[in-house]
């Protein structure tokens, strides 16, 4: 922008807004956000935009979107600190509820699992799955040990950099919560993952078993309590009798 420094209104012009435009190509749409492909200062990036939901009351919607952007940024940072890989954050626009972050090249764990199911025979598939599961469990355990629960663990929210199952990148921390985390919340977090796996991949009980194995190894002293709670959460489920 061309600004005359002697102009008294120059400052106001700057103050007016932090307008920026970035090239954006729609990439995908999830439940709560749109993802755009973009370049940020020459780096491949994505823009995650949490748009207003028409079905919600506007006040509630605004509150939630702001809260989730904040939660996501904080969650990603905390995860990095404890050595769980997440995409690098480039820019956060609190006004438009947008986060610009690194574009992780590779595929999601969901795609990877279905791919190796096709390519490998049964034994290899199981071995691959369990080594991946242990690693994933370790990562989740690390997060929990640092009092972060992800809140929406699914195989689509786990990315593999360059398709390599050793390089796990966790994304989508919008529902994460931090600080005062009880064993109950950790248990629920694991339960969410278990259900997500069961509903997306058939015959993959092996995967969750090894996730728990990895989790137990890494989770420190809180892990045992969380696993006990998991058992309890499983028992709750739906009302077993459907009277009334």
């Amino acid at each position: 922008m061309d600004v005359d420094m002697n102009d008294e209104t120059a400052e106001e012009k700057y103050e007016e807004g932090f307008g920026f435009e970035m090239d954006r190509k729609p990439m995908s749409q999830g439940a709560e956000a749109r993802i755009f492909k973009s370049m940020y200062l020459g780096k491949p990036s994505i823009i995650k935009q949490r748009f207003a939901k028409k079905y919600r009351h506007s006040t509630l919607d605004e509150r939630l979107n702001k809260h989730r952007v904040r939660a996501e940024v904080k969650g990603i940072m905390k995860a990095k600190q404890v050595g769980v890989e997440t995409p690098a954050l480039y820019f956060v626009d609190g006004e438009r509820n947008e986060i610009v972050m690194e574009r992780v090249e590779g595929c999601s764990a969901k795609e990877w699992i279905e791919k190796i199911r096709k390519e490998n025979d049964e034994k290899e598939f199981k071995d691959n799955l369990s080594s991946f599961g242990i690693l994933l469990g370790t990562k989740v355990g690390k997060l929990h040990a640092a009092s972060v629960v992800h809140g929406d663990l699914t195989t689509s929210n786990v990315l593999l950099r360059d398709g390599n199952p050793q390089q796990i990148v966790l994304i989508d921390f919008g529902l994460c919560s931090q600080m005062k985390i009880t064993a109950e919340e950790k248990g629920v977090d694991l339960y969410v993952l278990e259900r997500a796996i069961a509903s997306t991949h058939h015959d993959s009980e092996q995967l969750f078993k090894s996730v728990l194995e990895g989790y137990e190894k890494s989770g420190g002293k809180g892990a045992k309590g969380a696993l006990e709670k998991l058992e309890e959460v499983r028992m709750r489920g739906r009302k077993r009798d459907m009277i009334g």
Binding site: H57, G151, L153, V188, D189, V192, R195, S199, M242
Partner: protein, 331 residues
């Protein structure tokens, strides 16, 4: 480890089973003293539990106790339907509904009695309305609800269906209650492979068909939340609490900041309830929020959460198909 888990399961199963007794005891209006005795017995039993979280068990027992004590507000109607369909077109569908006396839930035995009295009339009417002359030749099969539900009324349906199938020599098809509702919704809306938000008195579930099964992606009990909320505000149960909340909500305008808990595709209302239970009376007394505002906020928050988990399930399965919100065909 396996053994321990199995033990926990048995313990909890027994507990739930006993609680069911408690629950039904109140429904059937056992003498107050007997119910109290049962309650105390259960509490004593729960205190002995070693492998289960005692606080949880005690809380659940108390909840069931309270739910049973004023079982009003629970589902007060139960209907029996007979329908005849051909190639997805409903030819006839007469129904008879049993209304429980005001302020009470219905009792299984009375409901079954009602169904027994009505069923023959209904079947005859269904056949007549559909214009079928020779049911033996024109019908292909007979389907009935095989559960889950209350035993006694279900039995009526099963016996009638079996009798008809034997008499007319037609195949008999038992259908799961929930799946029946879903398939009905699918047929009428014409949706292909939908994500379904299934809301009935006792269940709220997000369901979708995946890998050859209907799978539950997320669940909660919204009915219970509304009922208990209505009790906090002392709303009338006539015709049912949800209706009264909705009428009040239409007049509300201020949005109260309520907890919003979505975990994956599950949601929890307990936070909202305890939040409101603690503060509602104070708010209303001080005039900070009116009761109408509270109803309005509850509806906005709760329904947003329900829509959101449905949306999440859609994103998860990759089915961006229009969703038939299977609005409580029971009630």
């Amino acid at each position: 480890m396996v053994e321990v888990i199995a033990k926990i399961k048995i313990f909890q199963w027994e507990l739930i089973h006993n609680m069911r007794w408690l629950y039904q005891g109140f429904r059937m209006s056992v003498p107050k003293s007997a119910a109290l005795q049962l309650y105390r017995g259960l509490v004593r039993y729960a205190r002995q539990l070693k492998l289960t979280d005692q606080d949880w068990a005690l809380r659940r027992i108390r909840e069931e106790f309270e739910a049973g004590r004023d079982a009003r507000g629970k589902r007060a109607r139960e209907s029996y339907e007979v329908g005849i369909m051909r190639d997805g077109v409903v030819l006839s569908n007469p129904r008879a509904t049993f209304h429980a006396p005001p302020g009470e839930g219905f009792r299984p035995s009375e409901t079954a009695q009602h169904h027994r009295q009505q069923v023959v009339k209904l079947v005859l009417r269904a056949i007549k309305e559909s214009g079928i002359k020779e049911p033996e030749k024109e019908l292909d099969g007979i389907a009935f609800t095989k559960g889950p539900g209350m035993g006694a009324p279900l039995q009526v349906g099963a016996i009638v269906a079996r009798t008809l199938s034997l008499q007319w020599n037609l195949p008999l098809l038992g259908v799961n209650h929930c799946v029946g509702h879903i398939e009905m919704g699918r047929l009428i809306t014409g949706a292909d492979n939908p994500v379904v938000l299934y809301v009935s008195g006792g269940n709220t579930q997000v369901i979708s068909y995946s890998m050859h099964k209907y799978r539950i992606f997320g669940e909660t009990i919204v009915g219970n939340c509304l009922d208990r909320f209505a009790r906090v505000l002392k709303l009338s149960n006539d015709p049912f609490p949800g209706y009264n909340i909705e009428q009040m909500a239409k007049k509300g305008s201020k949005l109260v900041d309520l907890p919003y808990t979505v975990k994956g595709m599950d949601i929890s209302f307990s936070g909202i309830l305890s939040f409101i239970e603690k503060r509602a009376n104070e708010w209303v007394e001080k005039g900070e929020f009116t009761r109408e505002d509270l109803c309005f906020s509850l509806q906005e928050t709760v329904f947003s959460m329900l829509v959101e988990i449905t949306e999440r399930a859609m994103a998860h399965t990759g089915n961006f198909v229009e969703t038939p919100a299977n609005g409580c065909s029971d009630e």
